[in-house]
Symmetry: C2
Subunit: 136 residues, 2 copies
Amino acid sequence: MKIDASMIDRPTIGQVSDLVGLSPDTLRWYERIGLLETIPRDAARQRRYRALDLDRLELLIKMRATGMPLTEMHEYVALIHGGPGTRPDRLALLESHRRRTLDRIAALQQDLVVIDRKIDRYRNFLEDDNAPSHAG
Amino acid sequence: MKIDASMIDRPTIGQVSDLVGLSPDTLRWYERIGLLETIPRDAARQRRYRALDLDRLELLIKMRATGMPLTEMHEYVALIHGGPGTRPDRLALLESHRRRTLDRIAALQQDLVVIDRKIDRYRNFLEDDNAPSHAG
DNA sequence: ATTTGCTCTGGAGTCAGCTCCAGGGGGCAT
DNA sequence: ATGCCCCCTGGAGCTGACTCCAGAGCAAAT
């Protein structure tokens, strides 16, 4: 196999999959539903991802990881398609997502308090089992 | 309607729903799949939740809120059914969930970094738009 | 006595987000 | 030229977690 620039710069779907941790099926599916642009194909009609596709993908993955629903990612992509004039809207969308994520982190910490209380109760049970009554 | 102790101590499904924020359908469904014990019924065959049902429910809700899948909640309930001898296992389950939740919080914060970078880029775009070149 | 409102059961439907599959290449190692 | 491995498309299938519905009961209000 001859090595050319496209091999280095333009990974195939399997390489991207290994790189970012999404399955090839998921990558194809993101493209189908319009989260990614149509990825350019090589002579054999196989996908070759460009740097800009990977950049978009990185952001999408972080959005997903922080719990943004696909519908909202769709909105974001639609704004991109709307051109530079939509930058304030994109900023607003990201800022509001950021706020929500911080709120969710705070909520998680609160929820953990209840679980921690339960953990403490179980720890006490176990202590009592090991030292049933040192005054008996 | 005569007010008796059961009205105060034993809320109906609607009252519990208002209290905890799960729909009556979801409460019935949690019972069906065995996350909650069979709730005792009153003379009219309607559910009357006891304090211990509500305690369990509170924990389940916090488990869900912190992302524990139903299957693992099932395991926890199965351990309860296994009697006091399973307390070490229940503790282990809760502790491992606690760890995972802390890890997830850390991951969320990391993921936000990428989003924050994007936000900064958009902020810079907007600044440039407002003051295109102060040396022009 | 009829309407209103909550509840019941059991089963079906929904939605998000993937995941799998059939049927068909291309390219390279043996 | 025969595997083998990865890739293609389009559509179907799956899982988790609910959510809705039909058909019925009881009880307080009008």
